[in-house]
Symmetry: C2
Subunit: 464 residues, 2 copies
């Protein structure tokens, strides 16, 4: 019986058209990463369970895909389980727990494997280590629109350098990627030290998480509701009142920074955060072809428990969608694996959302993909004519032109034109017995419909 083929929930096949477009995005990002000296690494799809567990919170642990133990190891586990189960414990829980306790699991993100890589290979690595990594990750999340169980991450990080030059260059890289892709963006920047300073000056140093979570909702629920939430969480009325000016920041980034500096004059940490941002903004203002809008956004707090300095988030200006890139500075990524006090900063591009943005803006239609796809098809009227094309196609290919010969001998030439249309091949060279004799082929431009008589050398000259 034939099986009706399907794929697991939350996973995707990528068709040639999708692949060519995705590759265009990947290639663009990769070329920018390389332009700034970031080097590629790859880590295995499977990590040891111990490497991953406990790194993503309780919810994350649950969403990690585990590999089923096999052979002797499975038997050992099951033997142990059957021994214990005699003692009337709950069997499902027990099996679950035992099977998840060791073995392998699928990569959940690229950050933890990167940290593991740095510690494991520290003696071979040249620090500061600028690495990029473009690989799929797997999460057993409930699939829904725009959320998949397998998706690519696309990360660049530098580790072992606390220089702000890295923040500057990462911002340039974001600008360059979206500039090349034709997506107009706003790069929002914040600094964790400013958030710490705010908590400090309102006398609620230990409540930074509550405060930030509340402030983060400003765009969605408005000033009044945010203040209510803060009061409900037990932040004092005078403290909340002190925050008010932050909700009403106006003007340029520098003007905003001035206002905040005023508020944070009592916090060394807060002022350090302001200095850092001023330095970054100033450097970026001297780069002539920088085109993205940069916006200081003190409500920005992504991954707060994690970031210690700069925080980045990128929004598309012309499409309503979540952030399409994000990142920040962290101080102790590798400590958990035994290499403490290594500072790093990185960004991550959201390839699926970027794909959706470019689709909505019709950007893919404007791209010339013929370095990836076929530019010239030889169509023919029979076997002899087809074989006549073999050395001609070899010449075109040697000249760097992606070329096909329609492989089958078919009666209708229209079927071959159909093939060209469906594969969006822009030029078709037609070969019949006359063309074989004269060496002059009929070249059809599939876009304009125009047809010309040309020798193979002329065709190559035209299409090269």
């Amino acid at each position: 019986m034939a099986q009706k083929p399907s794929i697991p929930r939350g996973t995707r096949d990528f068709s040639p058209v999708e692949m060519v477009r995705r590759n265009y995005i990947f290639d663009t990002i990769r070329s920018v990463f390389q332009r700034y000296g970031y080097q590629p690494i790859e880590t295995p799809a499977m990590e040891n369970i111990e490497t991953l567990m406990g790194k993503y919170g309780e919810e994350g642990d649950r969403l990690i895909f585990k590999i089923t133990p096999r052979g002797d190891r499975l038997l050992d586990i099951l033997d142990e389980i059957s021994a214990i189960w005699d003692k009337k414990e709950n069997l499902p829980d027990l099996i679950n727990k035992k099977m998840m306790a060791s073995g392998e699991a699928l990569r959940y993100d690229l950050t933890v494997p990167f940290a593991r890589y740095v510690v494991q290979h520290q003696s071979e690595i040249t620090f500061p280590f600028k690495r990029y990594q473009i690989q799929p990750v797997w999460r057993a999340d409930k699939p829904q629109k725009g959320r998949y169980r397998e998706f690519y991450q696309c990360d660049a990080d530098v580790i072992g350098s606390d220089s702000l030059l890295n923040e500057i260059e990462l911002t340039q890289m974001i600008d360059e990627v979206f500039g090349k892709l034709g997506v107009s963006v706003t790069i929002k920047i914040n600094n964790r030290k400013i958030l710490s300073g705010i908590a400090e000056v309102i006398g609620e140093k230990d409540r930074i998480v509550d405060i930030t979570v509340a402030i983060d909702k400003l765009d969605k629920i408005g000033e009044e509701k945010v203040m209510e939430e803060l009061l409900a969480k037990g932040v004092s009325k005078p403290a909340v009142d002190k925050l008010k000016p932050l909700f009403r920041l106006q003007g340029t980034n520098q003007e905003k920074l001035n206002s905040i500096a005023n508020l944070l004059s009592g916090s060394e940490t807060g002022l350090k955060g302001i200095n850092e941002l001023e330095y970054v903004f100033s450097a970026l203002s001297h780069i002539s072809h920088f085109t993205s809008h940069i916006s200081l956004d003190i409500t920005l707090a992504r991954g707060l428990n994690y970031y210690t300095g700069a925080i980045f988030e990128v929004k598309a200006n012309d499409v309503q969608i979540g952030s399409i890139c994000g990142g920040g500075r962290y101080d102790d990524l590798t400590g958990i694996f035994g290499l403490p006090n290594v500072s790093g900063v990185g960004i991550s591009f959201g390839i699926d959302r970027i794909f959706d943005v470019m689709t909505e803006l019709n950007l893919f239609d404007k791209i010339d993909y013929t370095s990836q796809t076929t530019k010239l098809l030889f169509a023919h009227f029979g076997e002899k004519e087809r074989d006549f094309c073999i050395p001609l196609a070899a010449k075109a290919r040697a000249a760097g032109i992606n070329t096909e010969i329609y492989p089958d001998v078919v009666k209708k030439i229209s079927k071959q034109f159909d093939y060209a249309n469906k594969k969006q091949i822009p030029y078709v060279a037609v070969v019949g017995s006359d063309e074989m004799q004269s060496g002059v082929l009929g070249l059809k431009n599939m876009g304009t419909g125009e047809q010309k008589k040309m020798k193979i050398e002329e065709i190559i000259h035209l299409l090269k």
Copy 2:
């Protein structure tokens, strides 16, 4: 407690140096695939277990990595198991069987997912469908030298065309890939129809597998032992004697074909196989820049149960190692998923072995990687000098030069040169206060040690 980091047995991390070299191979293969009109697809890492099971033989089924069921599904399975186990069945076997019966498993090769893809998306596909696919696969094999549990496959197949032009072009592609990589190869070609013909004329039509398995060992164990094996398997003495001339084929491919044609004159299938090969050899002989050695090898039988026409295998001429590429024609890849009678032919490159061959031949040392790696490093004597470099680096990058600024302010310039050496950056521009004033930088060629005074525009002109 810090964990001592490690990765699962049989898996690998790829360092920047390895990645750049592997990417060079992948990019070369990909560009050739595209040159011949093959289009990329990707399929999910996870397939439904039913899609994979039973497709790779009993041994293959055992080596498929399965994903542990989770949540409600796991509980259902375990509930069912505990109910059954009360009846005193063997618990470990039972759990194993139940957990493996449904759910997801990791891709074991690219061929079965491709077949599944073609059937599932048949209405969207333009046939003949020329697709390539470069993705990792996973096998729970015992790891050993050169055998990994995660490795990339690199396949090109055309499906829905029985034209021999595809065999010709795939052979050209093999030649072109190894030509570009600088690896001298012999492309061995055989045809399953010739093997069928041999079995037929010696009156042992049904023993083709035994006969081929024995003949396949000719290189390793010699003529005498092969004949012993055939007799032991019950092939008659007269039949074995008839095979003798096959072991002593001499001369050019055409001369060999003539000898075989003589032997196979009674087999229609056998003669068809000979005709097919003659056609392919003849077409290839008319391609001027074809450089690989083509060798008819009637002992070649890879994946016999699978191939129905041409069989390919590629060996490196200057390195002792197994085959570095292989493939062939098959007739019914998609039947199992409900789309019968679709003929296809494909090849697969063995990236790990190609990597080893190129390493042994020192080919990687001769490649210029600076399109992937950094070409220019700005070294500096302090923070002001570093910041002075930011717009200069922006200019170099805008001109397409991969450029870094050493991010940290360090007292020793030698540390920055060290960094350049370790990352194999060929040029370092040094910026001190004099250089800031004059705009004339010291550019050091790290290969020759030569140092020159140059303006940024001159540096860009030199390195572009």
